[in-house]
């Protein structure tokens, strides 16, 4: 059979702007860039810490500049977006979750996942900020050996 002459329409560079589903996908993927940059900032801080108090204080002073605060606000927004969208695709990327023979609804997976993520984030924040409720703070002190994380 003769080869059929066809026309292949090129995929435009802005293909992802033409559909809200693609926009969400690209934003989700773009969040990786901000995680990478945030990891670099943390590594920078760790390096500053190893070089002594003056260097570490310099790094902390830099974090308080408007540009760095703006970066962290954007990075936090992308982290939130990534968390929610990650749990939204989890029911599709993991094998079907069944409880007692019944398929667990997608919405339940998303709600439990985002809820657990929020609870753990809140706990770590309260721990670092020293505002854990007394009972919980006591339990954490018992778990973390002396000389470990304060």
């Amino acid at each position: 059979m003769a080869e059929v002459r066809t026309y292949r329409r090129p995929m435009p560079a802005d293909w992802w702007t033409r559909n809200p589903s693609y926009v969400v996908y690209m934003l989700r993927e773009a969040s990786a860039v901000f995680f990478f940059l945030y990891a670099l900032v943390l590594l920078w801080g760790l390096n500053a810490l190893s070089q002594g108090e003056a260097a570490f204080d310099g790094w902390r002073a830099l974090l308080a500049t408007p540009a760095m605060i703006a970066f962290h606000a954007v990075a936090a927004a992308f982290a939130l977006l990534h968390t929610v969208t990650w749990f939204m695709v989890l029911p599709k990327t993991a094998p079907t979750l069944r409880l007692g023979g019944r398929i667990v609804p997608v919405a339940a997976v998303v709600v439990v996942g985002v809820g657990a993520s929020a609870a753990i984030s809140a706990f770590i924040y309260a721990w670092v900020a020293g505002i854990l409720p007394p009972g919980l703070a006591e339990a954490v002190r018992n778990l973390v050996p002396p000389g470990g994380a304060s």
Partner: protein, 248 residues
Amino acid sequence: MTDTRTIRIEALRFNPETDSEPRLQRYEVPFTPDMSVLQGLQYIKDHLDGSLTFRWSCRMAVCGSCGMMINGRPHLSCETFLRDLYPGPVRVEPLDHFPVQRDLAIDQAGFLDKLAAIKPYIVSAKERPLSEGPSRQTPAQLDAYYQYSQCINCLLCYAACPQFGLNPDFIGPAALSLLHRYNLDSRDIGWSVRADAANADVGVWECTVVGYCSEVCPKGVDPMHAVNENKVNSALDYLGVKRLLGGR
């Protein structure tokens, strides 16, 4: 007829014998509330321009022939109604990411090769003589693959997949859903028969979880889930523990 209104349909036209690239052609189409986009195109073909080329067969979302881009989104034109798109205009184009054969008809040859590559039939461990009668399945065994068996090869999921647009060699959502459908069938040997197709660079790993394929599927097949569940299988296979951990 009292309920007749007029809507403009803009169709992408391409004649491989005379055109170097596609162009849009506009038609004013009278329609009644019960008319689908497909029926609008049939009106054009019958009354306005007999040269307009498009595929259809069943007119009831079963055959999978009439998929096209309608206002930039992949739809079956038989179950998309002109009344919902009024006042229009309605832009109809061939499915995205496929070579255009003529007007709204795309070249399906690439997909058919991929479909053949995933062995879309039951591969059993041994030949069963007819005298043994039918292979029975429990309702649970049927339920395991039923959803994926609903695929009608309409290719909307390919038009929804930017990864396929960027790499036409990607086996793609529908073929990988059907790979999953046969792997999950209790009468089939399962994973090992189709492992090469799933593990290939253009297999499951070409998927980046865009997820739009599952949104546009008119039959509720959920290709995104089929593809990504097989990333787990492919990873276990790579680590050499697929057989140990079982699963299909």
